[in-house]
């Protein structure tokens, strides 16, 4: 939960520097620090850490090129920033007692709105009203068209919600499950020898879930980035599906 560290109130709004803010800053510092320091030597033959930075670069670049074509590459900094920020925030949240920035619905929703906003602004700026073709799939018989357009509009409107809720729910549910099982371990182990024996099962579950959570932390960042690429594809090529 969010605790205030440095209270800042502006015109009745609570803009305090909280632990959430602290971990956003930590995410920023960690990700930027890693990427800057590992590439500082600019070695032609990369070391391990430089390879990690280069791999993430090429990973996102190929993802975006496949998802949105070469015209979509102008969004590369945006997709890369989203992926690295979410990934770093998710992984930071795996450290005990650390706050998970992405387990807050407002954060994921803001990021999702940023993506959809970019799609809308760029789509209308680049294609004008032709951007509305995104709601009209080609090759649909005229009778079905109103229905299909209605479905397309609803699916488009639900994108920011599904995008944000997916990430938020995954991170939050994972952490709650971990906490519950870890709580079992603590509770059971206070019940004497039998309790300690019985605590082994939830302990194993906790370890397994921790592994799963690392996977989920990466996977959700990946999913967010992939979906961003797909939505950007609509902005770059409206009516192309």
């Amino acid at each position: 939960m969010v605790n205030t560290i440095v209270p800042i109130h502006v015109g009745g709004l609570d803009l305090s520097f909280t632990n959430a803010s602290l971990f956003m800053v930590a995410t920023l510092a960690l990700a930027v620090g890693f990427l800057v320091l590992t590439t500082a030597s600019r070695a032609v033959v990369p070391g391990r850490l430089q390879s990690v930075s280069e791999l993430s670069y090429e990973f996102i670049a190929s993802m975006l090129r496949e998802g949105a074509g070469s015209h979509g590459m102008k969004f590369f900094p945006m997709v890369f920033s989203l992926f690295m920020f979410i990934l770093t925030a998710n992984l930071l949240g795996m450290v005990p007692y650390f706050f998970t920035v992405t387990s807050q619905i407002i954060v994921t929703f803001a990021l999702a709105l940023f993506v959809i906003g970019t799609v809308l602004v760029y789509g209308f700026y680049k294609h004008g009203l032709h951007f509305l073709n995104v709601f009209v799939p080609s090759g649909v018989p005229g009778v079905l068209l109103p229905l299909v357009i209605a479905i397309e509009v609803i699916s488009f409107l639900s994108r920011p919600i599904s995008l944000s809720v997916r990430l938020f729910a995954n991170m939050l549910a994972g952490h709650i499950t971990l906490k519950v099982f870890a709580g079992f371990v603590a509770t059971l182990s206070t019940l004497g020898a039998l309790g300690i024996g019985g605590a082994i099962l939830p302990l194993i579950m906790t370890v397994a879930l921790t592994g799963l959570e690392f996977l989920v932390a990466f996977l959700q960042a990946y999913v967010f980035a992939v979906l961003t690429c797909m939505y950007l594809n609509d902005a770059v090529h409206p009516g192309g599906h």
Binding site: G12, T18, S21, V44, M84
Partner: protein
Amino acid sequence: MFVTAAYAQSTPTEGAESHGAAPAEVHTETGVAHEGGHGSGVFPPFDQSTFASQLLWLAITFGLFYILMSKVVLPRIGSILESRQDTIARDLDDASRAKSEADAAVAAYEQELAAARAKANQIANEAREAAKAKAAAERTAIETELNGKIAAAEARIAEIKSRALADVGAIAEETASAVVEQLIGARVPETEIAAAVKASAN
């Protein structure tokens, strides 16, 4: 509705602020609920009192992150990858150029080898022809010499033969005169005998 219900329960706590009272109230309420530790509070991720702060700090940190990525990190990694690409392409170029040079050297070597071989053949042929010609010349020289010798020998044989034949005539005359003298008991003139021998020899 969630928030308003909670708000309703805790109205008396704080209402002093003239503007934006609701967020302040909600904030107080959730703070109390968390301290209380039971289910009457708002589920922390849906606690709207923290939204403004989170949005502000997210905008600051993510904005800064985006700027640093697009201005510093991504151009740098891009240039690293590009320079590596260039280096590899240049090395490949060098390698292919070196290979073509080596190929040219091999071709030149082969050519020179072929030329040398042809020259050697030519020299050998010339030597063989010269030796053959010399041998032929020697043979003809020897043959002519031998022919000369044969001719001389034949001349000498003929001479000896003719001389011998001449001797044969003299002997025949002598014998004939002796035979005739024995037979008839008288000497026949030498000229007659010679004539008779000559006639019988022919």
